[in-house]
Symmetry: C2
Subunit: 387 residues, 2 copies
C-alpha cells in the first residue's frame, strides 16, 4: 500500500497541463457572431489560443470578466448567459435566462452578474459563481405594462442602473443586501432611452433618448437631485441624414477637460467641456459609432456606421484634428486597446480578420483570422468600473 | 520503450497542481521588510496563499507586474532584482544588479524592467523574461561625477524618466530601439530632486526638490518645452516643524478638477487646480505621506509620518472635509485599494497585521498576520501607466 499512495496525486493532475497554467492579465475573447462561438486570444504575443463553441445567438453580444480574470460572462442576444473558463478553455455553465437580452454588468465585488432583458422586460441578477438567480426585477411601470430594459451598467456600492425603453424611466438598484434590493425609480426622464453609460469614475449615469433630443443625466452620488437634462440639441435635432445606426454611448471618451462623443446621424464627433456644454464639432468620415480613447488619452479612435464602416479615423486630443485615416477593410465593428495602449485590436467583420495595430506607427503588427468578428473584450476590463 | 513513453508527460506535470491553476487578476504581494520575504495574497476572499523567502533587504522595496499578471518584479534596497512566479509561488530568478537601489518600472510593452540605482548611480534596464541586461545608463553628469537616480517611472512610447539627485537633472530614456536608447537630458531643473511621479495618463513627470521649494514639471508630450516650475511655495518654504519623512510623490491623487497632494513637513493636504495652482490647504492629523484616491475618486485616504503614523484619515473629495479618522495601530505604512475600490488593505507594521477595510462602512472585514508589513501591491497595477 505505501508504495502505491504516491502515485495518487499524479492522477489528479490530468486536468491541469502546463499549457493552461498562465497569468490571465493579457487574455481576451472575441465574439464570432455568426457561428455562436468566441475566440480566446492573448495580447503579449498577439496569438489565438482556442475557440469555444456553443454560445447561441451572439449578435450584439458583450462580455464582462470575474475579478480574478479567469471567467468571462457572455451576454447573448437570445437570452443566453454563458460562463467561460478561459484557463480550461471551456464553458462552465450556460443558462437561458430570458427570450431576448441586451448586455450585462458585474457588481463592484464581483459576486453578482446582472442582465438586461427585452423579453420579458426587466433585469435579472445572478450569483457569479453558480449562475443561480439572486434577484428578478421585472420592469413593470404601469398596470399590465412591462418595458424593455437598456443601458445596464454597474457602479460603486453594489449599484446597477438601467433605462426602461418603453417607460422613459431610469432605475437604480442597490444590491448591498442581496435579499432586499433597494430600487429607486426616476420617471419622465425623456422619451425612449435607448442606451446608457456611466463615466469612468462611476459617478454620472447618462442615457441617450431615441424619442427626443438631449440626454438624461443622473448623479449617482446624489440621487436626491434627480435626473437633469444635458446637451439639449443632441440627437435628432439637426439630423438631415438617415441614421444608419445609433452610436454606442459607451463610446464616450474623456481627455483632460474635454469629452468627445459621437453625434447621432451626423458626420461629426462632438466635443463637450466639463459642464456638459458642446464647444466644438469635428467633421469626420461618416456617422461615428464608437469614439474610444487610447488609455493615455492622447488619441481618440473612431469607427463608423454602414455604409462608411471600412474606415477608422484617429483624432489628436490636443489639436482636435484628425491625424490619421485608416482603411482596414469592410465593416470595422469594434476596437479594443491593450491595457497600456501601445496596440489597438480591431474587428474587420466582412474580411474575417482581426488586426492588431501599433498606435504610434499605425502599422498592422499582426492579423488573426476570425469568423465574422464583432466585439473584442480583454480581461483588464475586470478592474474597471462600469465595464 | 513504447510502454515507458506515456509516463514521461506525467513527470512534467509535477510542477503544476490544480491548486495553482487560477486567474491572477485578484492577487497581490505584501512586503515583509524585516525578514526579506513577500506574502502572496488574493483579494476575492481576502486570504493569504503563501510566503516566498530569500529576497534580501526589502526596506523601501516596491513591485511591478508583468503584463500577464503572472510575475512580480521586486526591487530590493540592496540592489537585488527578484522575479517571482505568483502561480508557482517561487522565485524564478534573482540578480544582484547594483549595491543599492530604489525602485523600478516596467515598460509599456512589458518587455523591459528598469531599476533606479544609488550605487553605482544610474539606471539599468533588463529583459523582463530573462533578466539579462539590455542597457546600462550610468548617471554621469560631469567629469568623474556620477549621481544617485530617483523617481524612476514608465510612460507610453517605451519611455522611462528619472531624476539625478546629485546633479539636479531629469533624464528621459526612449527605449523603442533597445539597441540604441535615446537619452534626452534636462539640466538645472532644481536642487536635489528626491522623488518623482507621472500623472495617470503618463503625460506629466513631476519631481520633488529636497534642496529648494517648488516642483519641476516636464510635459512628456512636449519635451521641446523643457522643464517648468510649479507650486513655488511647495516644500520647505513654510516649514516650521521638523520633516520626519518626505512624502511619497506617487501619493498624489486627482478627483475631478482637483489634485490633492501631501504637504512637506506641515499637517496639511494641499489642493491644486488644473493649472497646478494651490487653492486650499486641508488641516490633517500629521505630516501626510500618501494621499491615495479610491478608484472612483470619491474619497482620498491619507497616512502620516512618525510619530503620528497610527492614524488614517479619509477626505471627501466633494466637500474637502475629513469624514473619518481611523486608528488602525502603530505604523500604518501603506495602503492599496481593491481594483474597483470596495476595500482598502493597510499595513500596520508594528502590530504585524494587514487590515482589509470596507471603504463605505469603514469596518475591518478581515485581518491577516504579516511580519512587519510595508508595501502592498496588487496585480492590477500591471495594466496602469506609471505603476
Amino acid at each position: 500500500m505505501k508504495k502505491i499512495l504516491p502515485l495518487i496525486p499524479l492522477l489528479f493532475l490530468t486536468a491541469c497541463s502546463t499549457q493552461n497554467l498562465r497569468g490571465t492579465g493579457d487574455m481576451g475573447l472575441i465574439i464570432e457572431r455568426a457561428i455562436g462561438q468566441v475566440q480566446l486570444v492573448e495580447h503579449s504575443g498577439n496569438t489565438s489560443l482556442a475557440t469555444i463553441k456553443g454560445l447561441g445567438d451572439l449578435s450584439h453580444a458583450s462580455i464582462v470578466y470575474s475579478r480574478d480574470e479567469r471567467y468571462g460572462y457572455v451576454f447573448g442576444r437570445d437570452g443566453g448567459l454563458t460562463k467561460i473558463d478561459i484557463l480550461e478553455q471551456k464553458i462552465v455553465k450556460r443558462v437561458m435566462q430570458s427570450g431576448n437580452s441586451i448586455g450585462g454588468a458585474i457588481s463592484q465585488d464581483g459576486k453578482l452578474i446582472a442582465v438586461s432583458n427585452y423579453k420579458p422586460g426587466g433585469v435579472k441578477i445572478f450569483n457569479s459563481d453558480s449562475l443561480e438567480l439572486v434577484a428578478d426585477i421585472p420592469a413593470i411601470y404601469a398596470e399590465g405594462k412591462q418595458s424593455k430594459t437598456v443601458g445596464l451598467i454597474d457602479a460603486p456600492g453594489q449599484i446597477f442602473a438601467f433605462g426602461l425603453y418603453d417607460a422613459g424611466e431610469i432605475w437604480v438598484v442597490d444590491m448591498k443586501d442581496i435579499k432586499s434590493p433597494v430600487i429607486t425609480k426616476f420617471k419622465d426622464v425623456g422619451s425612449l432611452p435607448y442606451d446608457g453609460l456611466v463615466t469612468p469614475d462611476g459617478r454620472y449615469y447618462i442615457a441617450g433618448l431615441f424619442g427626443e433630443d438631449g440626454l438624461a443625466m443622473l448623479d449617482l452620488w446624489h440621487l436626491e437631485k434627480g435626473v437633469t437634462r444635458i446637451m439639449n440639441h443632441y440627437g435628432k435635432g439637426k439630423t438631415k441624414l438617415p441614421v444608419y445606426k445609433m452610436p454606442h454611448l459607451e463610446g464616450w471618451a474623456k481627455a483632460g477637460d474635454k469629452i468627445l462623443l459621437p453625434a447621432v446621424g451626423q458626420h461629426e464627433v462632438l466635443v463637450m467641456d466639463q459642464n456638459w456644454k458642446q464647444v466644438k464639432a469635428i467633421p469626420v468620415h461618416g456617422q461615428p459609432i464608437f469614439v474610444m480613447s487610447r488609455p493615455d488619452h492622447k488619441q481618440m479612435w473612431v469607427n463608423f456606421a454602414h455604409p462608411r464602416n471600412d474606415t477608422i479615423q484617429v483624432i489628436d486630443t490636443e489639436t482636435l484634428k484628425i491625424i490619421k485615416t485608416l482603411k482596414p477593410g469592410k465593416a470595422v465593428l469594434h476596437m479594443e486597446f491593450s491595457p497600456r495602449g501601445e496596440h489597438v485590436w480591431m474587428s474587420v467583420r466582412d474580411e474575417n480578420r482581426v488586426d492588431v495595430v501599433d498606435t504610434e506607427t499605425f502599422e498592422v503588427v499582426k492579423s488573426l483570422k476570425a469568423d465574422k468578428p464583432s466585439g473584442i473584450f480583454f480581461t483588464n476590463r475586470a478592474h474597471k468600473i462600469g465595464l
